[in-house]
Amino acid sequence: MKEGRLHAGVPRTFSIWRRLLWWLVPTFLAVAVVTAALSYGTFTHMVADFLDGQMVQLGDSIARYGQPTAPSAQVDDGAIAKGDYVVQVFEPDGRPVATSWSGLPPGQPLRPGLHDVRAGGRAWRVYVAAGAGGRTIQVFQSSDFRSGLAVERAGMAAVPVLVLVPLLMLVMLGVARGISRSLRAIGQQAARQDAHSIEELPLAHVPDEIRPLVASFNDLLGRLRDSFVAQRRFVQDAAHELRTPIAAVRVQLENLRDELAGSAGNRQLAQLEAGLQRAQRLVDQLLRMSRQEAAPTEPPGPVDVEAQVRDSIHGLIALADRRQVDLGLVAQEGDEAATLHCTPADLRSALDNLIENAVRYTPEGGVVDVHLKREDARVVVEVVDTGPGIPPQYLARVFDRFYRVPGSQAEGSGLGLPIAQAAARRCGLRLSLRNRGDRSGLAARLESTE
């Protein structure tokens, strides 16, 4: 999984969306609460003034125009809760004449004016007016209704803010997704970089806020590329420079061999020459490796595997002859041509290193078979030798650069297999090693992964 790789090893502790929610949602809720509180305060007064006005008008009009002694409209419990008035009329001596609701039994008449009282298990707002003929008119309204009205109004003021919260979450989710998409795109481009082709990340679809990060990342990539180039150049220069002293030692050794012809030092001379061969091979492999790390010089295309195997054997048959190793090709008859999509140089490099390795580690008189076959749709090349093989505990390590299996005799550089592996990977081939089951020997297997 590509995405998985981006997050690998980084605990998920930080999400822009979550952080936005964390701060914005409580803020909005606080705003809603404050709005409601303020509205409540304001509306309590507005409602009180307005309703008091109405009560005064009603009470005064009853007092002035001599309303019927018993109010005709009877009210009930539900109507009271909805704000209906209760009117009570008293005689000048304080005897009740009429009440519009039996649920509120008439007590002693109050002094004229506005009062808050409790009666009949409820809180009331009451207006007392002095009527014609010494009568007293009392108009009641439920205090619960009045405060309920204020709460309702205050609630209505907070609703828009509360409605905004889920909308806001949706919008922020969308924005955060957009941002993380572009970040992920940048991340994927960064993940595609390798030592061969380090390219700067494009700034085209990068949010302004992330731009400095990408710009400094690009700066870092640039320096990384420079240092890769410098390192490759150093390895190449060093390897080239080493060739001259090796050449000098080699010429002097040959002179010495002429000088000592037939005398006792021959065994030591041979040892010296073998050591020199090894140094030379190491230098050559270093050069190959650093070239391999440079950008490929030719574009990949269809490559005939058998032709490359033939060329590779052709190039190494002289070495095999010198070491008296029987190197040969074993191809299945009648197979259609196997092709791979890669650069010929990479395939050759993988084959050369595997076959050369096999030839070098196979003792005199041994056999190296290069099998070319198809298994289902896969192309398989197997290089099988009759050498000592590799002890199982070292099989995993032989792909490390400069690693040599302890006690191995051949003049290996420790770079052949790493080079082969890198080249194989670029050809879309998987390289695996196993020891032969039928006898001692190593089988190196290249197979296409598609």
């Binding site: 050449a247 040959e254 029987d326 040969g328 078979d369």
Partner: protein
């Protein structure tokens, strides 16, 4: 024969000087490009061995000036660099051959002989290296360590195919196409019989079989020394 050695490395120059002298060459050794130019202009060398990595004027520049001046002395480039472009540079500018360090002395001597022979313009009818298996295209004879012997037409065709580019592996099909004419009936064992016969004549190791691919003649196959 006189050879000019242009090499700035003290140890390598000294070693080569000693080795070439031992092989009968008369060696002049210079360590700078400018000195090399004047030496080549003055002297009559059979061959120049030119190192490319010289201080001051580098080998490529020396080569360019030598060839611009119309001097055709055979010139062998010795280089520590084997980057492809540098080879082509050198050969384009008129080097006769190049050798990548470190090289075996025998290889150097063989290449020197080869460039001198080529420059002499002697009609090269003999292919193969001195002391190894050689084929005279004019007389259709094989030379085994200098000793000539006759070949049949098919034997010659076989050896010619294998030695044209020595070291090349030729498949059964390629060899049969070269040896036998169109429409000629070729028995399944004809080629094997022919090669068997040649091995008896030239030595068992002269024509080597490469399993699964074909046959080849090694460039420096001594021939005869089975």
């Amino acid at each position: 024969m006189r050879v000019l050695l242009v090499e700035d490395d003290e140890m390598l120059g000294q070693g080569l000087h000693e080795a070439l002298s031992r092989k009968g060459w008369s060696v002049d050794w210079v360590k700078e490009g400018a000195l090399a130019l004047s030496a080549i202009a003055d002297g009559d060398y059979a061959c120049v061995l030119l190192d490319l990595g010289l201080p001051g004027m580098d080998g490529i520049e020396v080569l360019r000036r030598v060839r611009q001046g119309g001097n055709k002395t055979p010139l062998l480039v010795l280089t520590a660099r084997d980057a492809l472009d540098q080879r082509i540079d050198g050969l384009d500018l008129g080097a006769d051959d190049y050798l990548v360090k470190p090289y075996a002395l025998s290889e150097l001597l063989a290449r020197m002989r080869a460039v001198i022979r080529r420059r002499d313009g002697a009609a090269q009818s003999v292919i193969g290296e001195d002391g190894a298996l050689q084929l005279d295209l004019g007389t259709r004879e094989v030379l085994i360590q200098g000793v000539r012997s006759q070949l049949s037409a098919r034997e010659f065709a076989l050896l010619h195919a294998l030695m044209e580019r020595s070291g090349t592996i030729l498949s059964r099909e390629q060899l049969e196409n070269r040896i036998y004419g169109w429409g000629e009936e070729v028995g399944p064992n004809a080629l094997d019989v022919l090669i068997h016969g040649m091995r008896r004549k030239l030595g068992a190791q002269a024509i080597r079989n490469v399993r699964g691919l074909g046959w080849r003649v090694e460039p420096r196959s001594a021939g005869g020394s089975a």
